[in-house]
Symmetry: C2
Subunit: 593 residues, 2 copies
């Protein structure tokens, strides 16, 4: 049975040594003193390791069960959900007005990583609710907010997002679900939605579905899509629950992983719905929560990679097999533990340097979302908007690869369900797909975000990297060589790729899009390179100051050196591929595949 140790020390390092949150001007950050955040993280950590992690395998094994229209969650989920609610964790970064604690999103994200790592399928019930509540918060009327938010913030009621239909996912313009106005301000919603996470279950009194549908007679395609609130039970004026609405679960999907979450086919048969936001502006309303949701999914990539890594380390230290090539490390044992072998080290270092780099990247992203929302910082908003597809696409692709590496450490036992490593890869697999498949993220990055506001945000990113290097070079040759030089080279590769797109994408956009996946990955590497340079600097400074745990900082530097030497150079390969253009990619006729 796998275990989970909350990475609270590492989260604290990123918040305080690297991001220096208390020095930020973002409102609310001044309260984030180390003792305060430590208390929150420790408390959340205890809950995740003691309550949620032990249920992870249970959820996988039992899955959800549909009987007579009722979906039953796995044994223990209900009780655990009660504990999560009691602790106030569901409203951590929600407004006090609706029962939340009004903490910055960066804290919600740090806590969220631990929740996701301990039990991704379970955490999705509250995650989807958070997303739906955010949309109501951003686009709802005061009456809607008052009606739904208090119960959603507390997770007495949960939420869902209904986008996909059998014939359309990415291309929502093809949507068929209809909304017919009833003359009283409400609509009748009719259609079928699929892949609805937490669509129906037994852990909440009510479920608030946010549903995309087309109002009859509206514009064609994506421009005619509106967003609706469709409660499972109607809500009376006094807030009590009324009649059952015309929305039912058709079936639950049998999936590769996240079995503990009920993924439902939802049928809307003239269900009563209420417009959320403006008519025909449903995509805009949906995108508000989608950016946040995409950062959250990127975090899932990190989370599964980290818990899988932790267990790989335990196994690599326990399992005796072979001898170190440089001579027996433990001559008193019948064999040495796996961890003495260089190729096992290589794999563990890949995982460790990814997880820690990704953690910094995610929290940096979350801090920019806070700056955008709490301080109306347009630059932060632009930059995090640029980086959102990178956070989602790169961290989930890489996160999945890392779970596969962790599973591999277990040899044959990695393939046996009982050991739990298979579940990490099966659960991690979905993150590459949902909230926009990673190919769509790459398309969003290269086709839209790169040129947004005249390319201002990508230029700002390059300037940030350049300035960081300039400000910190020349003081410590070893640091320059190990950290700053590789970062400079990788950033230059990324700029060359951008230049290639500019010069060739005009003539033929395929030259840009054929390199979109490579660009997303090289951008991710440069971001993690930047994070490692910042973490390396923070660790170096702490060592020089003689504060804190010296071994922790030395390990941080060593892990960073690994990333810079072994992972960051991937940018050169991505650049080579990008510069080979679209010709070989698009050469075949459809019939020749």
């Amino acid at each position: 049975m796998p275990s989970y140790t909350p990475p609270t020390k590492d989260l604290q390092f990123v918040l305080h040594d690297v991001l220096k949150v208390t020095e930020s001007k973002t409102p609310g950050y001044e309260e984030l003193e180390p003792d305060f955040t430590a208390a929150i993280l420790d408390e959340a950590g205890k809950l995740t390791s003691a309550v949620l992690a032990p249920l992870n395998a249970v959820g996988d094994r039992e899955g959800c069960r549909l009987e007579n229209g009722v979906v039953y969650t796995p044994k223990g989920f209900k009780e655990a959900f009660e504990k999560v609610k009691e602790g106030g964790w569901t409203g951590l970064d929600m407004p006090e007005q609706y029962g939340g604690q009004n903490m910055p999103y960066v804290i919600g994200t740090a806590v969220g990583e631990m929740f996701s790592a301990a039990n991704q399928a379970f955490t999705m019930y509250q995650g989807l609710t958070h997303g739906a509540a955010s949309a109501i918060l951003a686009h709802g009327t005061d009456a809607q907010k008052d009606t739904y938010l208090p119960n959603m913030v507390s997770c007495e009621w949960t939420g869902t997002m209904n986008l996909t239909e059998p014939h359309c996912g990415t291309d929502l313009g093809l949507m068929r679900t209809k909304a017919a106005p009833q003359g009283d301000g409400s609509f009748k919603i009719t259609g079928q939605k699929i892949f609805i996470s937490s669509g129906e279950h037994d852990m909440a009194d009510n479920i608030i579905h946010l549903v995309l549908a087309k109002i009859e007679g509206g514009p064609e395609g994506i421009k005619g899509v509106s967003l609706f609130i469709v409660p499972k039970f109607m809500v009376n004026e006094d807030g009590s629950l009324g009649e059952r609405n015309g929305v039912t679960v058709g079936s639950i999907e049998e999936k590769m992983g996240i079995h503990g979450n009920s993924t439902c086919v939802m049928n809307y048969d003239g269900a009563t719905g209420y417009l959320l936001g403006e008519e025909h502006k449903g995509m805009r309303a949906m995108f508000t929560m989608m950016n946040e949701a995409r950062v959250g999914v990127g975090m899932q990539g990190l989370a599964q990679a980290d818990v899988a890594y932790q267990n790989a380390v335990i196994y690599a230290n326990d399992r005796l097999q072979g001898r170190a090539v440089t001579g027996a490390a433990y001559p008193d044992k019948p064999a040495d533990p796996l961890i003495v072998h260089p190729d096992i080290r290589r794999s563990l270092m890949d995982q460790k340097s990814f997880a820690e780099g990704a953690r910094a990247f995610i929290l940096w992203g979350a801090s920019m979302i806070d700056a955008a929302h709490r301080a109306d910082d347009k630059d932060a908003d632009g930059l995090v908007s640029l980086l959102t597809p990178v956070i989602k696409g790169f961290l989930t692709d890489q996160g999945y690869d890392m779970t596969v590496k962790a599973q591999q450490i277990y040899g044959g036992h990695g393939y046996i369900e009982e050991w739990g490593m298979s579940q990490f890869t099966r659960d991690a697999r979905i993150a590459m797909i949902y909230e926009g498949a990673n190919g769509v993220q790459a398309l969003d990055l290269v086709g839209r975000k790169l040129a947004q506001d005249g390319g201002k945000h990508v230029m700002a990113f390059f300037d940030m990297v350049k300035n960081f290097i300039k400000d910190n070079a020349g003081e410590d040759t070893e640091f320059d060589t190990a950290f700053l030089d590789p970062l400079k080279a990788a950033s230059k590769d990324l700029q060359s790729a951008g230049m290639y797109f500019m010069q060739n994408g005009m003539k033929n956009p395929n030259h840009a899009l054929a390199g979109s996946n490579d660009f997303m990955h090289m951008f991710g590497h440069v971001c993690l390179g930047l994070m490692w340079a910042k973490m390396g600097l923070a660790a170096k400074n702490a060592l020089a100051a003689g504060t804190g745990d010296a071994q922790f900082y030395k390990t941080k530097l060593a892990t960073g050196r690994y990333y810079m030497a072994r992972q960051l150079p991937a940018t050169a390969l991505h650049l080579t591929r990008i510069q080979s253009g679209a010709d070989t990619v698009m050469a075949l006729a459809e019939a020749d595949f």
Copy 2:
């Protein structure tokens, strides 16, 4: 429900246009005329697509069931196994003396690819039998061969290989299973073996277990391991089945994939066993079949990648989503099919260029095994021995990645079991683990094979590449630029890596082993690059001669150009990593992970 189209045309292309099998001096190859091999491949292809492929999902869904010591295979497996036996497919490349058809291994491999692609879990029952029969053929006495081989060649009896124990897999020196001599030439075998594929099932009258065990009083560690034949039912002198032997199935494992194959815990409680080969030379006997088995597992990596690719192409052509960035490709349809999008193309081209390159690599390897076995060609034996870990490790790592890419094309549907794409990845995952986890393959390559016979075989490989380039350069600038130049650069990278190992591995072997995984992958890329250059040349020549299907050859060239431009340059990244040495890999103390 996924489908499978046997790649008979492509197999014929490799056998005849590329390998030119009939021109080979290997005995038996002179019979392999195109019409003859086409007849075999077509017949096998029909069986695999019509009978085995439809059972693939059934096997995954139902799995195997253990009841009162009896293992039941999924519905339909028994009937399908009868058809495979009736067709004589189980003894295709086995000696006529024992009921086989004595075909070269290269034909067995070509047929085997289709069997594995259609239904990997099912095909393992005969695959393990083939491996066990090969070991008896190589090391058994005449009496043993006569007793076991006829029924194993026909698969009336199936076989297993018993190596792993709960506490040891790779490091078999730690083995605890004991063999006690009985004075009559037989032994009593006692111990527990795990992960025994096809260990117990209902499709054969008898199961012949090959079991590694230590004879009491023998040498310590790996040098005291012997190999034994342990039949499930004793075989009487007249060949009839006698008493049940003391071997029983303890449980069947719940695995991530290959559910249709029964993976068993086998308990030997004083079971009667017969020494196969010499005392204490069990590892040598096991390795005879292990090389063959490893090539077979490499083939599984290709097979799953190919069938997954085929279905990804179907979906990419069917699923309408979005519009081509260069303007609607199908303005009469509500949206364009996925296949118009450059990033979808990129993924499909990755898959296609891998599968076709891997197919050539596998068949080239098989032809060298034939040359070694049938013509006693020592050079071929040395080269295929060098390449075996590359075939196994590279093709299964990459093959798995390709199934993940194919699954990704399906978006959300790729995660739903009903669509079958999840099974391809779950089944493909095991190939990276069994028959020596891929880290062990990389260790075998760098730690043993590279320096074998004074490095003679790797030198021969480099000479082969050099000569191929020299012999074919200068006639066609486009071919030189697209194929030969990239091959030259990649081969140079590989040589530089070998040089780095020589110069630094002496001082500290960790400098070599920390790069072993990268070396295995760069070697694989160079091999596929060589295959693509050879296939490109064959296609170019056929086009020039005006023979055959011009579109097929043009497609082959275009696919090759893609591989050379987009995949082969990965060697440079691997070299960078290798040349960064072991310092960053080994920097951490065990407690710091």
